[in-house]
Symmetry: C2
Amino acid sequence: MTTTNPSQPVLVDGQWITEDTSGVFSSKDPSTLEAIPLSFPVSSWSTCDRVLEAAHRAFQISRNLEPAKIAAFLEDYATRIHEDREELVAIAHRETALPKSPRLMDVELPRTVNQLKVAAQAVRDQSWQMPVIDRKANIRSCYIPLGPVAVFGPNNFPFAFNGISGGDFAAAIAAGNPVIAKANSSHPATSQRFGQLVAKSMQATGMPSGLVQLIYRTSHEDGERLVADPRLGAVGYTGARGAGLQLKAVADRVGKPFYAELSSVNPVVILPGALDQRGDSLVDEYVTSGLMGAGQFCTNPGLLLMVQGPKTDAFIQGVVSKYTQTPAGTLLSESVEKSLVKSLSVLTDAGAQCLTGGSKLLGSRCAVANTVLRITGGQFLKDPHVFQTEAFGNAVLIAVCDSVEQIVRVIESLEGNLTGCIYSDTQGSDDGHYPQVADALQHRVGRLLNDKMPTGVAVSPAMNHGGPYPATSHPGFTAVGIPASMLRFAKLTCYDAVRQSRLPSVLRDTNPTGKTYRCIDGVWTLD
Amino acid sequence: MTTTNPSQPVLVDGQWITEDTSGVFSSKDPSTLEAIPLSFPVSSWSTCDRVLEAAHRAFQISRNLEPAKIAAFLEDYATRIHEDREELVAIAHRETALPKSPRLMDVELPRTVNQLKVAAQAVRDQSWQMPVIDRKANIRSCYIPLGPVAVFGPNNFPFAFNGISGGDFAAAIAAGNPVIAKANSSHPATSQRFGQLVAKSMQATGMPSGLVQLIYRTSHEDGERLVADPRLGAVGYTGARGAGLQLKAVADRVGKPFYAELSSVNPVVILPGALDQRGDSLVDEYVTSGLMGAGQFCTNPGLLLMVQGPKTDAFIQGVVSKYTQTPAGTLLSESVEKSLVKSLSVLTDAGAQCLTGGSKLLGSRCAVANTVLRITGGQFLKDPHVFQTEAFGNAVLIAVCDSVEQIVRVIESLEGNLTGCIYSDTQGSDDGHYPQVADALQHRVGRLLNDKMPTGVAVSPAMNHGGPYPATSHPGFTAVGIPASMLRFAKLTCYDAVRQSRLPSVLRDTNPTGKTYRCIDGVWTLD
């Protein structure tokens, strides 16, 4: 539009605005390191301010919208994403190098569409508001929207966790809040494509123009200012721990809910009986999960705990062979590659033995050799902080312990994690050990699995994609699993002696939909 | 026990331990300013460390206790409190000057006993764990205990919010966590009496010895170290904003849940029609609520918003007359008195007109004259931060606005509050104004009331004693209302493909009690 400033426009209050900005950036194709010829703006504070103002105005409307209207918007958007899938997948594949199949086209895109539809259903039935009615006292409570939500999406799910299309987006919108999406810098063009679709959906379904807005990047200073701004109600952040903690500190200072998913090594315990019973198949299972998506999952099984025994070395040799033979996947960006190499250095400098891999691959793509590191349980216990360094990508640390008791001590030295897995003999030989291992592990993870790898996070109302700090910033909430994930972006509100006609529809004497679960005088009912 | 150190013992791991401490303090009878002849210790870090270690060990046991055993402990303790009521009331009356009746004996003590019994019932039926079961995916989630909870109780409820007997205590224990109670410095002897009762209950019902511990005071440095310690799972804090925010900052840095209730001015809006309809009775209602307990309630209606009109000055004159004629209550401590005088200075320095009261009463008790301050809505809007200064005690600020629209702008300038009240004409003349006032107010308060004063916080499952920052530190939780208040001290935990026999009882196929509400495949049921 202008000759001095060829950057792509941002989506502000329903309009695509070309910014007069000093800074621009571009994404690269990680499989070739060629720049993708689109310049995206580093937005100025003046743009952030306009975005906040529009979101604030939109919230005055969105918090009182009919549930059916919000649901219609989410469904319209889901349909547009599905219809645009060829283009979305092509752009995302170029920006992330994630495979089209199996992954972007057949797994992540359908999941994204499904999440939006499930969210729409949750809006329609309104049970997510958890209405509680005490008829005798005439006190009634439910969750209501919290305010505009800034969503910072991660690099590793360009669709399913994108700030403008993913889980946090769906949860925030479904709860009645505007979203300010901050695109991940590694896939701005993918985010832009979503922005084009969402703008059409907003218009088609009569949403307030500031309901969904999109910016690509800000200075650190402006990012912090945006998080602290009183017009913003909450933040959803998935990404690197350092940047996340900086923003969290800002939010904490002003008492603002900040839901962060930061890092996790996802310990997997293989008990001796399981190894004895089915060591070979466990090698396959573990390697498949560990190398899936070049290991770039928040639930990647990055720390394996096992006991030294007759079959332990053979198991490890099996994993090493497969890690050595399998071609290394392309990483999402140079930044991921650099960070992985750095983490591997930290681990080897601390004494981890590198069994295979350990360094960047030569050539013009982002890639590190598939890596297996080994330490003893004793080493881990001497330096648990360092040996919990997340090596985000295709690398695993195996800690071989003296005994199951030592495994328990290792678990007790762990920070919070998203997941923890325990493999045990199906015939019962591990049953004596299981309780103490599980008791220690379940208090340090959001999700405990039996005989199952942690990658794959089902969209189920019973899912918890969360966990104690620093896996996430609050152990009581999940980022996946509707309707529970919506409660992050809602406030509990009580209505005391408020007249019937003035109550939110879910709190009136009559069930508003016939399908809204409410707890009335201690009884959960559809009445 | 020792001649050099005559301080009272602390309750550590089931034992009353006399500390070798350098610092001691005593409480005073606020009605005479005479010191109560008992010295309580400022605990050293070494004591804090022992307490944390004992709590940590107790948690290994408490998290796996049968619900019936925890319930029996809570019920035993409730019974002992009831039986000891004469002594408890006598001690608390002396330390706080709160009336025996109506208040300590007939209101607060029964409430405290009732809270413990309601908590016991919640433990027994286990619905508080919010079990969610997805049978097809075999994914199941529920809340489980979080870890030892430090409870810092406030000065104004020596029973019902005491760290060793009150709402946070009941919620934390009921959820399966040990409690480290930090007595409020203004009523250590009351807390000690509870400690004696709880120690007997723990022993009688076979609880782990570190389940409930009691310390009286620490240095600021040790208090922060205790909050940051990894053996501590969460904190419940009710009290002054400054001290609370300092501890919150420490907890935030280590990602620990910190539930604080900090301050609130509890705006009350009287719409013109209500004033016209029943101005005289509103004077009575307002004054009764405002002066109850010498105004020392977190829900004290400290900010009154009304429109200048024909009956406004008469209403205010009515309030002023009653505030002037009613004897000023005794405040809880010299510190409350000092803080109230300071807040009144802040408000008058900013331009508030003092209609009655405004200064400390002469004489040897803690008391400030009942105070009414007046400003205009315009003044408020020029300096909303200062005019939201909480004047904790028997003082009220009345902001007379030009119009209901100006009231809405004042509300929009408010920080988070625990409560907000709207009085309107019962014949409908205010109905045009109500929606915009309520819409603005409900997003800034935890509890919205109609034609009812905010003092009085019923123990109802639908109650929300919470609110946006800085009323509390998280808008999604309540400190009153079992079972909801228990969720603050629990973590969401998901069990993915975990074998039946290894699941928590609430997640197995069979309902463990026949009375546990569970959401199975989207249906809330007792099946």
